[in-house]
Symmetry: C2
Subunit: 159 residues, 2 copies
DNA sequence: ATCGAATGGTTGAACATTGATTCATTAACG
DNA sequence: CGTTAATGAATCAATGTTCAACCATTCGAT
């Protein structure tokens, strides 16, 4: 199990941790997302709604940073959410480059209704670890994320 | 920072760990993959070559399991690797449903040449953690991955 | 005030990924 | 045997994602 690469201890240790980290994230994300996508939302759409719900209106650049997605992608995601009436765009009057994205009532209702199930699924996915272990995992992961990630660590990317 | 969801302690703890896990994996994977993709390989192509290098020839179904990717995707990935002469397909004579994928000499040389840089980048990405912490992270992640993931935990998915 | 750099957003091409369908082959079972 | 089920792979449409090019807007020098 783990890595088959021949190298010194430090390399094998890092590779092993790396593989397990990626696999765990994939596994947990897949499990959680199953419950979102069934309801007609992609993971990124869900993440966007959730960010808007918990952080309030955001411009598209901010949304992209929170979700770790490219600008072009955010344009499409917001397009689709807007098409479905979950969200509205509005040009910022002060600085007309910005487009602020607002949750509609329908969007707020939708994401609010989805959250309990989402939370329950996350809790369930992490139930393999004790509370103390979950905290330890969070601590370790936070230090890893600091390296490259956009600093805004507000809201879940949801892949 | 972390989660903005209002809920009981267990929920907040799980959500927080979840977010950080996903972000850390994204962040580390992005960093590592930057060094692979610059050289003309997608993450999945790299993962496939690496699996073949360390595990020997595999059929496409096995490859899909190792990489956590769909069958249709594997067909395309192998197509592209074959086009570039990194890999050859061969029908299994015993059971003609199987197609075994072999590394060519060129493919072996290519992945072998890439590995040291890959390993160095993984080591670097995980250097925020001490050896002991890396082991702890691996231990926690392994227990999370067990929930849903395909059991074959041989080789890195690389997203 | 103006010109150039930087920033936010959009667009379009390229591509990876999935999921459903289909086909060939093998296995199982009567 | 022969039919049916199961398995591995290929194919195709649909979609999410990224990246580069581009436009509009603002900001900063001079």
């Amino acid at each position: 199990m783990g890595t088959h690469y021949k190298g010194d201890d430090g390399e094998v240790r890092a590779l092993d941790a790396y593989i397990k980290l990626i696999r765990a994230a994939d596994s947990v994300a897949a499990r959680v997302q199953r419950h979102e996508s069934v309801l007609g939302l992609t993971a990124t759409q869900f993440g966007a709604l959730e960010a808007l719900l918990h952080l309030g209106p955001l411009c598209q650049r901010e949304l992209g940073e929170k979700l770790l997605k490219s600008g072009g992608n955010i344009t499409l995601v917001v397009d689709n959410l807007e098409k479905h009436g979950m969200v509205v765009r509005q040009r910022d009057q002060a600085d007309r480059r910005f487009v602020t994205v607002y949750l509609t009532d329908a969007g707020r209702a939708r994401i609010a209704a989805l959250m309990p199930g989402h939370v329950a699924e996350v809790v369930r996915a992490l139930s393999a670890l004790s509370p103390r272990e979950q905290e330890e995992l969070g601590r370790l992961c936070r230090r890893l994320g600091l390296g490259t990630a956009a600093e805004g660590q507000g809201t879940p990317p949801c892949r």
